[in-house]
Symmetry: C2
Subunit: 185 residues, 2 copies
DNA sequence: CACCAAATATACAGACCTGTCTGTTTAGCA
DNA sequence: TGCTAAACAGACAGGTCTGTATATTTGGTG
């Protein structure tokens, strides 16, 4: 095992940043939790910001992999997959470790002047929207961009209400709304 | 003028916390920007957390006052007011100083272990939902709770996408979706 | 075994942050 | 004018944070 230290650092930081936030999680806490030496961290990541960016990119990769994969598992046709999006969303929100969307949280913590981090957050949301857009197009709706954007609004709304208000039913309620919008489109 | 210092502190902190985040804004920055002495701050607020709570409570008060008032201005009947919600939302998102919802941002920055701050954020969202619920009931919809929750999802979704992706049209697009949901209810 | 690169422990610099302490100045009011 | 309470300036304590320097230990490979 060559340098799985780097991966291990990202892993640990991912968990801590998500659970406690970026500013609240100091480098030392990540080092203690991972059992890695400080010099090793700074060899792989020139600064904390670089580590944060790496963590966000990893999170984006994993989350989309999980989310998209789960949607494919649950839904058979394109129409069913579209509905499954909201079942997967519900699964996520109802999970014990749910603490909102890491990218929304990052955008909240880093003002827009931190372009690099804000950009990763924005990119993630764009990729999520594009996934929805693909499903809507596959399902053959007219005006697909309109519908997919509207479904994205519901997804983001459910994440926020699920997090801020702790409403575990936010995903299920978003699903109901989505069905209305899909029926009307 | 006796103790408008306290109010002035809240004012300055409100602006800085919203623009740059809570952790990124140090006490000293607030003092420098407001021209108030440190001892004065700590006389009125025992800790930074107390100041943050006071700021959030003030923000909640002002924001709802502005938002609700603006909705009343723009809409005549209950139905029109419901639509106006999304016009006011759009106004907000399109404003130059828009940096998302301060309560979503607070919830992101303070993990749920900080009960007091998370509670203020949750309370704010509940009050916003109740406002929507009142409008929906006035408009005479059946299943008002269902519709008002769905509209709330759209509102929160638009705030998030408007912030994270910088999409100034998020409010207008949420309005379209709202009209579909209202027509289907 | 010997070598070498990687990772380690640990101390430290320097910045910043919250919160306190001390003494001075201001401003309203009798 | 003189009293009083509030706000002031500014130094300081104590902690935490990021990032660096140094010297030691590990672990894989010839």
């Amino acid at each position: 095992m060559p340098s799985n230290r780097k991966q291990h650092l990202v892993e640990t930081a991912l968990k801590l940043f998500y659970q406690e936030g970026f500013h609240s999680t100091g480098i030392d806490k990540i080092l203690a939790a991972s059992g890695v030496a400080k010099m090793t961290l700074y060899k792989h990541f020139p600064s904390k910001d670089d580590l944060i960016r790496a963590v966000l990119e990893e999170r984006d990769k994993r989350f989309r992999e999980w989310f998209f994969g789960r949607v494919e598992e649950l839904g058979n046709g394109p129409q069913e997959k579209l509905v499954a999006v909201f079942d997967v969303l519900t699964e996520w929100i109802q999970g014990d470790d749910f603490r909102g969307c890491m990218f929304i949280n990052a955008a909240a913590e880093f003002s827009s002047k931190n372009d690099a981090i804000s950009q990763v957050a924005s990119d993630h949301k764009v990729l999520m929207c594009e996934f929805l857009d693909g499903l809507v197009k596959d399902a053959g709706y007219s005006n697909p961009e309109t519908l997919s954007y509207q479904l994205a609004l519901l997804v983001e709304g459910a994440i926020v209400i699920g997090h801020v208000c702790g409403d575990k039913e936010a995903g299920a309620k978003a699903k109901e709304a989505a069905l209305v919008l899909m029926a009307g489109a």
